[in-house]
Symmetry: C2
Subunit: 285 residues, 2 copies
Amino acid sequence: MQVARTIDAVRRCVAAARGAGKCVGLVPTMGALHVGHVSLIDAAVAHCDFVVVSIFVNPTQFGPNEDLAKYPRPFEKDVALCEESGADVVFAPSPEEMYGGGGVTWVTVEKLTAPLCGRSRPTHFRGVTTVCTKLFNIVGPDVAFFGQKDAQQAIVIKRMVADLNMPLEIVVCPTVREADGLAVSSRNRYLSERERRDATALYRSLETCREMIEGGAKDAGEIRAAMVAVLEEVPALAIEYVSLVDAETLEEAEQVAGHVLVAVAARLGPARLIDNIRIQAPALH
Amino acid sequence: MQVARTIDAVRRCVAAARGAGKCVGLVPTMGALHVGHVSLIDAAVAHCDFVVVSIFVNPTQFGPNEDLAKYPRPFEKDVALCEESGADVVFAPSPEEMYGGGGVTWVTVEKLTAPLCGRSRPTHFRGVTTVCTKLFNIVGPDVAFFGQKDAQQAIVIKRMVADLNMPLEIVVCPTVREADGLAVSSRNRYLSERERRDATALYRSLETCREMIEGGAKDAGEIRAAMVAVLEEVPALAIEYVSLVDAETLEEAEQVAGHVLVAVAARLGPARLIDNIRIQAPALH
């Protein structure tokens, strides 16, 4: 496995693979890799002949008061994990390599970036869509792999790819969870032992929702209230949103029907945690 | 020469050419082709093995009160001209083919799009950058060709390509002029015989500027005043801007030095006309 620090270097690696007729997969990450990322690399290795993992803590997707400086960067451990998982190249550029010219160009997706995480992170998604556009243009993958854990991000990226006719396929892989249901996240390492236990409330609220819908509940307000009650059992949790939205348009529905995204976000001590599930609810009659 | 009406069709043509190891050139146009466009196709044929000319009157780069509906669309004549000029494919999609899904994604270039034409056409350049991104992603050219006539557009596109690491080269070709200096433009056909004669004032104002700088003039205000005087000799011309700016940053300079873009825009009857020249002025001491 090679580690490419520059755009030219990774392009040379990919050009060689493409010259050999290989299908190229990209797993874009910010490093601090965990079993969730490994599941994305596994999917890429299964789908593609040549797998690039990018490791780049992208400054443009962090807000001014967010955790850019303290975001974990265990680079050597990350590289070892990529190699063990069967990646062919790690692309790990510096911020200067990615934004050295002082970029003035943004890729923005309207509407889909306004609700959910967009409300508290107004510049986050344009940072994500811009850096993903750059990574797609640098690597030129046939397929890129994202996690369902960041549900809104996956929906926004898929929409950007479709709207701009980007010549690649987006594959969204299932959320990986701990034994107690907590969605695996690089930010879980910010949590104390007590907070780590409290954090399971997010998943429990989602399971409450699933059970209610499976039991025939349709009123989004009623389901939402039950979810909030589960979260409020943990006083340390500061709820940011609890939303039931159309899984494609991200519009809130009063009645639950069709493909629904149920998403929660909350602050817990030093961490901001998000989680979600997708549910196929019966159509309304 | 083939005419491709769909994204899939043009992609098939280009894939076949690329499979044969050909270098692919793209000339993006809105049709109503004239000798200026032909010079771009000539450059593409000279540089590349396989040339795609796109003909698409892009609605997103027209403002609400601009000439989208009446913009000329002499399609059969355009196709014949492309064939005569040695193009391999004309890509002529419908608005539905390009924006059928109701796009919510924009590519925007900040700063460079604010001055000059950006002042009177605030949504124009995001339409241009978004459709060019789409065309680049659809066709996947090695080189794309633009005219110096639309100087700000060329600078904005080059910056977008650099900022987003788009894997292609931008070539900017010289402005083609009529015998009396008028820059060739699809919008010249909006002019009456009288207006056509009046329109030469734009070029004369640029020549005045060139002569002054060659004669040692350095004060931008003084040069600008002389240019305005030339334009004001034609009462029918409504000046929109007369600007001397840095040719890379588009910032106005008080003293003329280095690489300067001199650009003018004016309304004349039903037409909005623009023209420019680039001048390498001596450095300031």
